[in-house]
């Protein structure tokens, strides 16, 4: 996909609709400045289609109206907007700290979310406490919105565990590294919600590359067949490591949903308000028995896929620069400032708070102890396993053979 084709497109819904009512404008805590200006539509590579892009905030931070989606953010107060802004700033700060820690050798690897804060915070804040989230391995912003202590996310990247948190504490499942696997877990979980007669919903996160995986196709099939309350939230960040979206699909990703019999929507993934609105729409569908939906958050991964790769080998600097102009945080800040919803003190306080977070993350990571070698044998089976018991005992005896102490607690015997 070229730079031009990935440029924020004319939000047809925003520009083609009528004026928003003053009531909704008031309750949104903001007035719609204007409809998005009509730009020449770009052509999607390989598709020849003109995807609609739901947008409520332009890259310049101007509020545009959307007859379809405004109602989903009609109750968003200025305070809510500040929360969204804080979420994005804190998430970005956390992410930057993790990248730095990786460069310092404190983490083995880090998948940065830089540039995807709006997609994650918008969708994350749309969820309810009783909803369940199935992330990939990059949903640090969603984890933040779910109330997960961000330092818990770092254990697997430091190499002290392979997950390490209780998914049921915040209804935030473990990171899943195999691409697309979690979409099936999410669908199964949603099938369970439906069986329980609950009105909770599930959000399954996936990337553009994952849409090529068979598991994602199967998840779409199961979700559609069982009308499961699941939202497939695809962050199309344009690059699956080094492979562009056109290597994954010849049609815009959101259109994939149609073939499975549920709706798909493309939203400006750098517009936190639009991501919130579209996610709320999708979650409401799920809760009310209307079944699954696919949200394609059209965004950009500003950094490398992980700290191991080198984007300069496969994409041009100009492309990144074009997306920098659509930065999700700058965009909301411009809006907050223009509307007078946040003052300098707020931003200064947030800067200080984010620095405190960075410091805490740094300290926690550096103080994370290596697991005890015997932990290799823990948590393999819930009901135990004779072979694990045998190998544990053998290894304990082997380790004890190095002990200098006269008595060894593990063996209970004397060591010469």
């Amino acid at each position: 996909m070229t730079v031009e084709s990935t440029a924020a497109r004319t939000p047809r819904r925003a520009s083609s609709g009528g004026k928003r009512t003053s009531a909704s404008a008031k309750s949104a805590g903001a007035s719609a400045k204007k409809s998005a200006s009509a730009k020449k539509p770009a052509k999607d590579a390989g598709a020849g289609a003109q995807p609609e892009l739901v947008q409520l905030l332009t890259p310049e931070g101007e509020r545009v109206e959307s007859p379809e989606y405004d109602k989903y953010v009609a109750d968003v107060t200025p305070e809510d907007l500040r929360v969204l802004y804080r979420d994005m700033v804190m998430t970005r700060r956390f992410d930057a700290e993790a990248v730095t820690l990786q460069r310092q050798g404190e983490l083995g690897l880090w998948p940065s979310l830089l540039g995807q804060e709006a997609a994650q915070v918008g969708s994350g804040r749309a969820t309810r406490e009783d909803d369940y989230v199935f992330p990939t391995y990059r949903e640090h912003g969603v984890a933040w919105c779910r109330g997960v202590d961000p330092t818990l996310l770092l254990g697997m990247f430091r190499g002290v565990n392979n997950g390490g948190w209780d998914p049921n504490s915040n209804n935030f499942h473990l990171y899943t590294i195999v691409i697309g696997s979690q979409t099936l877990h999410a669908t199964g979980y949603a099938m369970g919600i439906a069986k329980d007669g609950a009105d909770s919903a599930v959000v399954a996160y996936l990337g553009d590359g994952a849409t090529s995986q068979g598991d994602v196709a199967e998840a779409f099939t199961f979700a559609a067949v069982y009308n499961s309350p699941v939202v497939f939230f695809c962050q199309n960040n344009q690059w699956a490591i080094s492979e562009p979206t056109e290597k994954q699909s010849r049609v815009p990703l959101y259109q994939r949903a149609q073939g499975y019999g549920f709706p798909g929507v493309r939203v400006d993934g750098n517009d936190v308000l639009a991501c919130l609105a579209v996610s709320k729409w999708a979650l409401e569908r799920a809760r009310t028995g209307e079944g699954p939906s696919l949200v394609e958050a059209f965004t950009y991964r500003m950094g490398a896929h992980t700290t191991s790769d080198d984007p300069s080998r496969y994409r041009r600097d100009e492309e990144r620069e074009a997306w920098e102009a659509k930065d999700p945080i700058k965009r909301l800040r411009a809006y907050l400032e223009a509307e007078g919803h946040a003052d300098e003190a707020f931003f200064a306080e947030l800067d200080a708070e984010s620095e405190t977070l960075g410091k805490r993350v740094r300290e926690v990571v550096r103080s994370m102890p290596d697991p005890e070698p015997m932990s290799i044998f823990e948590n393999i089976y819930a009901d135990g396993h004779a072979l694990v018991d045998e190998e544990r005992a053998e290894f304990a005896a082997y380790q004890a053979s190095f002990a200098d102490a006269p008595a060894d607690a593990a063996t209970g015997g004397e060591v010469k």
Binding site: N161, N162, G163, G164, W165, D166, P167, N168, H173, L174, T176, V178, S181, T183, L184, H185, A186, T187, G188, Y189, A190, M191, G192, I193, K195, D196, G214, D215, E218, A219, T221, F222, V225, E378, N379, I380, Y381, A382, D383, H385, A386, L387, V388
Partner: protein, 326 residues
């Protein structure tokens, strides 16, 4: 005492019925398990009695079946997923190995994923390609999974319920060529633990170790050997992960000779593990090297030659003779 004489397939059906009645969180899912009652009719009548919400006909997508079973388990359900035939499990292999087996460890023991995967396996029914394989070693090799295979109706009935009650994922291999063989099931009995091997026949000259479909073959071999004056002990392994090595060791040390029999290819198979472990444990008690009888390092062959591929009475007895010749 409630003792019934049931074919293996019917014993599994009764076991599923009991499990569905006992726990509303148990769900049966798979291709054709509902209206059709499964291609082997193992789930016959269950959907009629428990509804399509509990006995779920799924899309034809094995990864989807296992992946959604995982999700259901995370929601608190206890899914019993059926893979229609052994060779069809591979589209789901990724979900089983990378997800199902490892989630408990990943969560540091915070979440359990009690999924049972029923797989009719093994040959001897004249089927086409992918319908007769014995992939148990592939699953036993993966930490986090438990692998079992009953050989008779009573074990089929009890072991399946134990597998469903287990908080660990269990791969439940059903010996499809034995589906129609009848045996007594005491539904009031206190069953052996799921992972305990049993001595199916006592003997003194050599031990045959088998599981699933080969147990009967070994019992027939032992009966034939008895006519020749040889006393063979037969151990039914029942569980392939973990393996009850204590029972195998005791028998091997008693007879001094051990022959492992399975349908799966010998190379890197369960027999290799048993031979190595028993050699380590019982080196000075053995009168002969541990021998293995099983499938060849070939794709499962066309049905017209499967009897040559599968260990039969003669190949088992030939191995007994070789062992006794040391």
């Amino acid at each position: 005492m409630a003792v019934k004489k049931l074919p293996v397939a019917k014993a599994i059906n009764e076991s599923l019925r009991t499990a569905l009645e006992a726990d509303p969180k148990v769900v049966v899912m798979g291709e054709d398990v509902g209206k059709l009652g499964g291609v082997f009719r193992v789930t016959d009548g269950l959907q009629k009695d428990f509804g399509d919400d509990r006995v779920i006909d799924t899309p034809l997508a094995e990864s989807g079946i296992i992946g959604t079973a995982i999700g259901l388990a995370l929601r608190g359900y206890r899914p019993v997923a059926e893979i229609q035939f052994d060779g069809f499990v591979f589209p789901a292999y990724d979900q089983i190995v990378t997800q199902l087996a490892k989630m408990y460890a990943r969560s540091l023991g915070k979440i359990k994923v009690p999924v049972v995967i029923r797989i009719p396996y093994g040959g001897g029914i004249g089927a086409v390609e992918h319908h007769s394989e014995s992939p148990e070693a592939l699953f036993a090799h993966v930490a986090g999974l438990k692998v079992v295979s009953p050989s008779n109706s009573s074990d089929a009935y009890w072991m399946l319920q134990q597998a469903i009650q287990s908080d660990d994922p269990v791969i439940f291999f059903e010996p499809k060529r034995r589906y129609w063989e009848k045996g007594e099931v005491n539904t009031d009995a206190i069953p052996d633990p799921l992972h305990k091997a049993s001595v199916a026949r006592e003997g003194t000259d050599a031990t045959l170790v088998a599981y699933g479909p080969m147990v009967r073959t070994c019992l027939e071999a032992a009966a034939a050997a008895a006519e020749e004056g040889k006393s063979l002990e037969v151990v039914d392994l029942r569980s392939i992960s973990p393996i009850d090595f204590d029972t195998v060791q005791a028998s091997a040390e008693k007879t001094g000779r051990l022959i492992v029999v399975h349908e799966a290819p010998v190379f890197f198979g369960a027999g290799a593990e048993i031979a190595a472990r028993i050699t380590e444990r019982s080196f000075y008690h053995l009168e002969a090297p541990v021998l293995r009888v099983g499938g060849f390092h070939s794709p499962y062959p066309p049905a017209r030659v499967e009897e040559d591929y599968l260990p039969g009475l003669d190949r088992v007895l030939d191995a007994v003779d070789r062992s006794l010749a040391y």
